[in-house]
Amino acid sequence: MLKVNNIYKTFNKGTVNEKKALNGVNLELNEGDFVTIIGGNGAGKSTLLNSICGVFTVDRGTVVIDGVDVTKLPEHKRAKYLGRVFQDPMMGTAADMWIEENMSLAFRRGKPRGLKWAITNKERASYREMLSHLGLGLENRLSSKVGLLSGGQRQALTLLMAVMQKPKLLLLDEHTAALDPKTAETVLNLSDRFIKDEGLTAMMITHNMNDAIAHGNKLIMMHEGRIIYSAEGEEKKSLTVDDLLKKFADISGNELANDRMLLSN
């Protein structure tokens, strides 16, 4: 489903701020794989996701989604393959537009947008139905501005929008990090449910190592723009947080001394 072949990305090349963000990353996902990604700050986790989305083009290497080489496609043309949820709950929705308007935008991802009326009554009914499954009471607020919703509600809506046109690949970039623990759990469970029910292929960055172990069938650890460790199947299931900390120290020669990661366990 996804093939990332030896990609490199350096930001601000030739300046004092030069930053080698990706240093030869290889990754292959089969249909239905759900990989969790951990690593310290600046390890290249978000850069990896963004290079799959086409937020920027990579310096070297290729990205192939479902047999299509998308390496040179601009962001909006890759969007038809991808569902995305960002860390910032403000990022994934248009605040000044209504809930149903946001959903209709997502519903047309990958389709041409013409001069037909943007929302039909039939669609509206299906949006209401989908929202009711979130269990947040949003089904009665189709014509509320999204900017009036809480961060958790916005994130749940973004998640729904990301999967309502079944994506080839769902990309979750620390999408629960900005939420309070209880809401984060709700959104994470919702993500799990969508991925299972729809049989989605997914990647999830998380700073919470317990979550990284508990969710998905694969786990990768990144450091300095490389994947330094990966586990799947039984090996992944039997991992503990201590294992991961030790693995990190052994391979990188550093402590995974990120307060946020340690405190959240």
């Binding site: 989305c53 601009p74 962001e75 909006h76 043309k77 969007a79 038809k80 991808l82 995305r84 960002f86 403000m90 990022m91 994934g92 929705t93 248009a94 605040a95 000044d96 537009m97 308007e101 209709s104 935008l105 997502a106 047309r108 991802r109 990958g110 389709k111 947008r113 013409g114 001069l115 037909k116 009326w117 943007a118 929008m161």
Partner: protein, 301 residues
């Protein structure tokens, strides 16, 4: 009483015509979140194009359509500068505005002022027939509101709104934000040029400088409309109507301050200061709210 009302007929007609221009500004400033300075040029382009075509013997209806299309091209140039040359929107607009100054002089064959006599040519509106001018320009405004309401309710229109509101989200949902910005600038400047073409008929001439400061008048109309009617007018069509009403109020106020003795040459300064203050109000309100909440936090700590 009637004489007072009739003394406002001129400002009302002018206000509606500038209100059409303000709807163009609304599209860029409010929907696309771009301050487009092309309009100072495209306003005059619309005016001189119409006058030259009508005095050359063309039917006024066709001349209006062409003026609109020429304005669209001006918006296209700014859009290409902005999205394909990577030039910041404000500077892209200023560049096109400067280009248009030369283009407008070409259109008028280097004359700075071209007359259009209502006695000699069949035109739609004139300040000599104010009631007619108000009715005709109001019909134009109403039709434009209806078309805009339809357009921004379509799939494409929605994607334009998303582009202005959250470009990251728009791209993540497969929307080509660069193309959408161009489309918005094209429509906006088409409307501005149409307004310029109506204004030239109304005043009986087009002038190379008739668009100078147009952006300020357009913004003033948009902001006055929002401040006075924003709380009641929630529907998109009504928001556009608010911009037109804002234009009318602007011209009534201007006519009053001129009567009160303001030097006409100080008018542009007066308008610019009014716009600066009204743009500042929401910013100051936010600052004040921040101050208050930080005080409360301290009190609670």
């Amino acid at each position: 009483m009637i004489s007072i009302l009739s003394s406002f007929a001129g400002p009302v007609a002018q206000g509606i015509i500038w209100g059409i221009m303000a709807m163009g500004v609304y599209i860029t400033f409010r929907i696309l979140d771009v301050a487009d300075l092309t309009v100072d040029g495209s306003m005059a382009t619309g005016g001189v194009t119409l006058v030259v075509l009508v005095t050359g013997g063309m039917h006024v209806g066709l001349a209006l359509v062409i003026a609109f299309l020429v304005g669209c091209v001006a918006g296209l140039v700014t859009g290409v500068f902005h999205t394909k040359f990577g030039i910041p929107a404000i500077l892209a607009g200023i560049l096109t505005q400067l280009i248009l100054y030369s283009v407008n002089l070409r259109i008028t064959t280097q004359r700075s002022n071209v007359p259009l006599s209502v006695d000699k040519y069949h035109i739609l509106i004139s300040l000599r027939h104010l009631t007619n001018a108000i009715i005709v320009s109001a019909i134009f405004a109403a039709v434009i509101i209806a078309v805009m309401y339809w357009f921004f309710g379509t799939e494409l229109g929605h994607s334009l709104r998303a582009t202005g509101c959250n470009p990251n989200m728009a791209r993540a949902n497969g929307i080509n934000t660069d193309n959408n910005k161009i489309i918005g600038l094209v429509i906006s400047n088409g409307l501005v040029a149409l307004s310029g073409a109506l204004l030239a008929q109304y005043q009986g001439f087009a002038d190379i400088n008739m668009g100078r400061g147009a952006i300020v008048i357009g913004l003033a109309a948009v902001i006055i409309g929002e401040v006075l009617l924003g709380k009641v007018f929630k529907n998109f069509a009504l928001k556009l109507l608010a911009a037109v009403i804002g234009g009318i109020i602007y011209y009534i106020v201007i006519s009053l301050v001129l009567k009160a003795g303001l030097n006409a040459n100080d008018l542009k300064m007066f308008s610019a200061l009014v716009v600066a203050v009204f743009l500042g109000i929401p910013y100051w309100q936010r600052k004040l709210a921040e101050k208050r909440s930080s005080k409360e936090d301290k009190a609670n700590a």
